[in-house]
């Protein structure tokens, strides 16, 4: 009886979790910036999720739940701790932007320079990088992001805004360097 229940549970976990594999891996690699660490992070995420699946309430947001486990696992890893210790999470400082002529985005689109954008995202502090990827790449709603990062929606909005401004500044610097 117990085995049957465990097997049914595992079936349903597999159905829900496997489709997220590529998305979770991409996100993990962006966080860790290293293939081996990303693989370890994804593996640990799945192991924790499977173990805690009985506590997951079906009908609630499974994707946000998985991303939250991955993100929390990352934060407690050596790389995650190092990344978060190097900055203040709630810094309200906003970068000063110079006057515009050619906007970084138009130049970027014109040049189709995907690499420039990747460098700019990579250079972002981890809390900006993750929120930007969850919103613009994973297309999560603010509510999902709030659940994933365990922060209030107001903080999601302000952090996103700062992340975008920082990214923009980084792109402008890159473009000036040529």
């Amino acid at each position: 009886m117990y085995l049957a229940r465990l097997s049914a549970q595992s079936d349903s976990f597999e159905e829900l979790a496997l489709p997220l594999f590529d998305r979770l891996y991409n996100f993990a690699h962006w966080l860790t910036r290293n293939r081996e660490e990303a693989e370890d992070l994804v593996q640990e995420t799945y192991a924790k999720a499977l173990k805690g699946f009985s506590s997951f309430r079906l009908g609630t947001n499974f994707r946000a739940w998985m991303f939250r486990i991955l993100r929390n696992t990352f934060l407690t890893s050596r790389t995650g701790l190092k990344a978060t210790l190097t900055l203040s999470l709630d810094s309200e400082e906003e970068p000063e932007l110079p006057a515009e002529c050619d906007t970084p985005e138009t130049v970027l689109i014109e040049r189709s320079n995907r690499r420039l954008m990747q460098i700019a995202i990579e250079d972002l502090p981890v809390h900006f990088r993750e929120i930007l990827l969850l919103c613009d790449l994973e297309e999560m709603s603010y509510q999902e992001i709030a659940e994933t990062l365990s922060i209030p929606i107001g903080t999601v909005m302000s952090r996103l805004s700062r992340a975008r401004k920082t990214l923009r500044k980084s792109l402008q610097i890159q473009l000036r360097r040529g």
Binding site: L3, A4, S7, S10, D11, F13, E14, A17, L18, F21, D22, Y25, N26, H29, W30, R35, A38, E39, V42, Q43, Y46, A47, L50, T103, E105, T106, L108, I109, R114, R115, M117, Q118, I121, L132, L133, C135, D136, L137, S141, Y142, M157, L160, S161, R164, L167, R168
Partner: protein, 252 residues
């Protein structure tokens, strides 16, 4: 800055997170304000660029396999149950193979008859029913010389109710053939003749096959002397059978 209050919420608007009534107000404003619309365009471009750049890392195939194995539920069968499971799978496999063969044959056969019915209907709907207009089989038969890669005989219609209206070219399975039109009591009947070896017909189309139920016409087909014949029309099954009989008698 005139649009300062709008600008502060522009990202939220583009993320689709404003309340419905504010979304509408923003729609109207952005459409009418060149400054905000160009700002919105720039931000949309950034979002798009992030999406493109963000799709960067893919897991290795080996890692994917490893993870799939570790997540997949482990079978918990006893040895006895294992044998039963294997036997059940074998039965499912055999039944599945037979069913798919049967369904494939049925659908292939149905498709041939559907195409024949289409050819028949398209011809009747055409403004020129036939390309060679003649009731004389000795005029119609030579018309096909050089147009199709085989010869065939047309039956003598004296003392029958059928009359020949003429002929035209037909193509089935990319193979040229003869299309003859006959009349019986104001019903048009098409007779198609193709070279058997040029057609790739499904196994269900055999000697004296009849059309499946979803073709509303009366149809008969048979193979004789290396040729494949199809007779189709809205005439009665008895009329179709009579014409078939005339053709068979003439070709034998």
């Amino acid at each position: 800055m005139v649009c300062e209050s709008w600008e502060a919420k522009l990202d939220t608007y583009l993320d689709g997170e404003l309340p419905a009534e504010e979304m509408h107000a923003f729609d109207v404003h952005v459409h009418n304000c060149p400054s905000c619309s160009s700002d919105a365009l720039r931000r949309v471009q950034t979002k798009r660029a992030i999406q493109v750049a963000g799709e960067r890392f893919a897991p290795k195939a080996e890692f994917r396999r490893r993870m799939q194995r570790s997540i997949a539920p482990k079978p918990q069968l006893s040895p006895g149950l294992g044998w039963m499971f294997a036997a059940a799978m074998a039965v499912v496999f055999v039944v599945g193979a037979l069913t798919s063969n049967y369904v494939g044959t049925r659908s292939g056969r149905g498709q041939v008859f559907s195409e024949i019915a289409d050819l028949h209907v398209a011809t009747l709907a055409s403004s020129s029913l036939v390309d060679v207009i003649s009731t004389d089989r000795h005029t119609v038969k030579p018309w096909f010389q050089g147009k199709i890669p085989f010869a065939f005989d047309l039956p003598e219609l004296q003392n029958s109710e059928f009359s020949l209206l003429g002929g035209r070219m037909a193509y089935l399975d990319q193979t040229p053939g003869a299309h003859l039109i006959y009349d019986v009591r104001k019903h048009h009947i098409s007779v198609f003749v193709f070279q058997e070896r040029s057609l790739s017909l499904p196994g269900g189309v055999n000697e004296n096959s009849f059309a499946p139920k979803d073709v509303s016409f009366n149809v008969e087909t048979w193979s004789q002397g290396g040729l494949r014949y199809f007779v189709i029309g809205d005439a009665s099954a008895a009329d179709i059978a009579s014409l078939v009989k005339l053709f068979k008698a003439d070709a034998s």
